[in-house]
Subunit: 395 residues, 2 copies
C-alpha cells in the first residue's frame, strides 16, 4: 500500500448518515414561506447597486435598495452552478483539504475580541475566578495559530482567532495572515474586514487556483433581518471574482433579528442565504461556497444572545437538510456556549452542539475549539481540550 | 380547553424523528451474526433449569447450562406478545406515565455505591478537590429521592440512587422503596438484589395492575459474554409472573466482556437481550418490557471501563434501531461520564450521550442526572444541573 492509502485508512474519518429530522413535505413548507418572503417582502441590499443590477438578470425587481425575486429561480441558479465540493488549498499539496468530500472539516473559533488566559481546565488547585479576560495581542494570536497547527483534529487554522489589540487597525488582516502563513501549512480563512483588506490577503497568499479550488474561505454574513450591508456585498464580490471561497451564513438572534420560532428563523434565514449564494454564482459560476442558517435564542431579560441551546441544534439539523438540498457544502457550528468558564455548562452546551453538527453531516464545522463566553473570548485551554476530545471521536 | 389539554400543550414534549444511522441491509447483517451466535455458540443460563425448560417450548436445545435457539423464532415470539408501550403507574393516576408513548421518559442515575458531596458545580470560590466521595447513607438516599421528585424533567424517581451503607443489607430494598413511596408520587423502579427482595417490594406497593401496566420496572441484565446468572433469571421470572415490568440491557465492556468493535458488541448484545425478552413473554405474554444494548470501551491500560465515549453513542443509535424493530420500547443512557468532578469533561461526555439517547428516540432514558466518576458515585449537584439543563431542552 502506498502512503496515501495507509494515511486514509489510519484516518478513519468516515461520515455517518445524515440525521434528517424533517420530511420532504415539511421542508417544502419552509421553502414556500421563504419564497413568500423573497417575493412579497424582499431583501435590502445596502449601498451596492452592482449587486442589485446583477440580481435583475435573474428576474429580480428593485425599488431602491430592496430586492424582490423568485426563490425558485435563485435555487435553480445555485443548483446549476455551485460546486458540491471543492479543494481548499494549504501551503503544500498534502495539506490541501476537500470541503464537501469524504471528511467533515473542523475549524477553530472565529472572531472573539478578547482572550481568556488560564488553562481553561479548572484544575482543582487553581482558583478559576482569578482568570480574567484580557485584550488579546499579536503574540496571543500567533500562539493560537500554533495550537491549531498542532491539532490533529483541526484541518485548518481558521482566521480571526482573536482580535489584535496591539496592532494598528489597518495592519491587522496582514498580521493575521502572516501568522497563518509563517506558523502553519494548513489552509486558512480570509479576512472580511474590508474589500481592500480582503484583496491584500489574497495577494499575499499568491497561489493560483483553478475551477472548484480556493486558497481562502471568506465568512460573509447577511445582517438579519432581511438585509446585507455594503461591506458584505463588496467583500462577497471581491472574493468571488478572485476565485476564492465564500461562506454565507444567516446568523440570527431569535426574537431580536428574526422571528423567535425555529420555523420562522429558518424561513427568513433561508431567504437571506439564497440571495448571497445566487450572487456568488452570478459573479463567478462555480465559485466555491459553504452555507447554513444559525439561530441563537435572544434573552429578553439580559438582552444578549444565549449560545449552546437546544434550539440551535435543531436549526443546525434543519438548515443542513435545506443547504444540502441545494447541492452545496453545509456549515456547522460546534463548541458554542454561554459559559464564562470551561466548566460543566461549557462542556454540555458545546457537546450537544457538536453532536448536532456531526449528525447533521455538516461539511465544514466552525467554532469547534476555543469558543468561550458567548464568543466574547477565546480560551487556549478550551481549544486544547476540545481539539483533543474531537480526536477521540475521529480517530 | 380542559386542564389536561392545557397541560399537554404546555409540556410540549414532542419527539423528534429517530436518527437511523444503519440501513435495513446493515441491520440484517447484524441480525445474521446474532442468529449465528444463538444457533452455533449459544447462551449460558446458570443454575436455573426452569428458564431452559421454558425456552425449549420455542425449540431451544440445551446440553447442561448452554442453550442454543433460533433467533428468528425468539424475535417472532417477542413481536407477537410484547407490548409496544405500557403504562407505568405512579401513586396517583396523574403521576402515571406511558413508556413507549408520546414522551421520552427520563430517569435519574441508578446504582452508585458512593456519593460525591459538594454542589458539583465547581464554583470558583470553592476548591473542588476538597470534595471527597463518601459512603452514602439512608439520609443521602432520601435527599436524592426528594431532588428527583422536585425535578420537572425526571418523570420517575428511579431506584438505587446510591447504596445504603448504614442500613443492614437485607433491609435495604425496603428502606429504598419506603423512601420512594413516602417522598414522591412519581413511579419508581423495583429492586433486583434478590428474588425475595423483589417480591417484598412488589408486595409493599400493593397496587393492582391490568394488561400492559406495571407498578415497578426491574433492571435485569445478562452477564456478558453470553451468560445470565441465576439471580437475574429468578428476578426476571418473579417480576414477569407478578405482572411487573422488566428492562433487559446487555451491558458490555468492549474488549473485556464483548468483542472490542461496535459491530461485534451489538451482535453479541442482541443475542443476549433476545433470550431475556423471550423469557419474559414466555412467562407472561404481554409483560411490559424495555430493552437496549449498552457498550462501554474497556481501557486496556487502566483496566476500567470508560464512560461517555463516542462509541457508546453509536451503539445507542444502532441498538435503538434493532430494539424498535422488535416493536418494544427502547432504553437510552445519558449523562454517563468518566470524570471525577462535574467539570467540562463531565458536561461534554454526558451531553454527547444525552444527544444520542434523544436522537435515537429512546423511550426510557436512564442515568440522565447525577452520574459521576464511572458510576462510582452519585453527585446531588450534578443531578440538579442535569435535571435543569434537560428542562431547557424539554420545555
Amino acid at each position: 500500500m502506498n502512503a496515501d492509502l495507509i494515511n486514509k485508512i489510519l484516518k478513519k474519518r468516515t461520515r455517518q448518515k445524515a440525521y434528517s429530522i424533517l420530511s420532504g413535505e415539511e421542508l417544502a413548507l419552509i421553502e414556500k414561506n421563504t419564497d413568500a418572503i423573497l417575493e412579497n417582502i424582499g431583501i435590502d441590499l445596502h449601498d451596492d447597486p452592482i449587486s442589485i443590477e446583477i440580481l435583475k438578470t435573474l428576474g429580480a425587481t428593485s425599488d431602491g435598495i430592496r430586492v424582490k425575486v423568485c426563490g425558485k429561480t435563485l435555487r435553480e441558479h445555485i443548483r446549476t452552478h455551485a460546486p458540491s465540493s471543492f479543494k481548499w488549498r494549504g501551503k503544500t499539496p498534502n495539506n490541501d483539504i476537500v470541503v464537501g468530500g469524504d471528511e467533515q472539516i473542523f475549524a477553530p473559533v472565529y472572531g472573539p475580541p478578547e482572550i481568556h488566559h488560564g488553562d481553561g481546565n479548572l484544575k482543582p488547585e487553581k482558583k478559576a475566578h482569578s482568570f480574567k479576560n484580557t485584550l488579546s495581542t499579536l503574540s496571543d494570536y500567533r500562539h493560537l495559530v500554533s495550537l491549531c497547527d498542532a491539532s490533529k483534529s483541526l484541518q485548518t487554522t481558521g482566521f480571526m482567532l482573536c482580535f489584535l489589540h496591539d496592532v494598528e487597525e489597518k495592519n491587522r488582516p496582514i498580521e493575521m495572515a502572516k501568522a497563518h502563513m509563517e506558523l502553519s501549512d494548513k489552509p486558512f480563512m480570509g479576512t472580511v474586514v474590508s474589500e481592500e483588506g480582503l484583496k491584500s490577503v489574497i495577494e499575499m497568499v499568491g497561489r493560483k487556483t483553478s475551477q472548484s479550488e480556493c486558497n481562502l474561505l471568506h465568512m460573509i454574513n447577511p445582517s438579519p433581518p432581511l438585509r446585507y450591508q455594503q461591506n458584505s456585498l463588496k467583500c462577497l464580490r471581491a472574493a468571488a471574482l478572485s476565485g476564492e471561497g465564500v461562506m454565507i451564513t444567516s446568523y440570527s438572534m431569535m426574537g431580536a433579528t428574526s422571528p423567535v420560532t425555529i420555523a420562522g428563523v429558518i424561513a427568513q434565514g433561508y431567504a437571506e442565504i439564497l440571495i448571497g449564494l445566487a450572487l456568488t454564482q452570478l459573479y463567478k459560476p462555480g465559485c466555491p461556497v459553504v452555507s447554513s442558517i444559525f439561530g441563537i435564542p435572544f434573552s429578553m431579560s439580559s438582552m444578549i444572545p444565549t449560545y449552546g441551546m437546544p434550539n440551535t441544534s435543531l436549526i443546525q439539523l434543519i438548515s443542513s437538510q435545506l443547504v444540502h438540498g441545494l447541492g452545496i457544502p453545509v456549515r456547522g457550528d460546534a463548541g458554542v456556549t454561554s459559559s464564562k468558564l470551561d466548566d460543566a455548562q461549557a462542556g454540555y452546551e458545546g457537546g450537544m452542539n457538536l453532536s448536532a453538527a456531526m449528525s447533521s453531516n455538516a461539511d465544514f464545522v466552525i467554532h469547534t475549539a476555543g469558543w468561550l463566553h458567548n464568543g466574547i473570548c477565546t480560551s487556549p485551554g478550551k481549544l486544547i481540550r476540545e481539539s483533543e476530545a474531537l480526536e477521540g471521536i475521529l480517530f
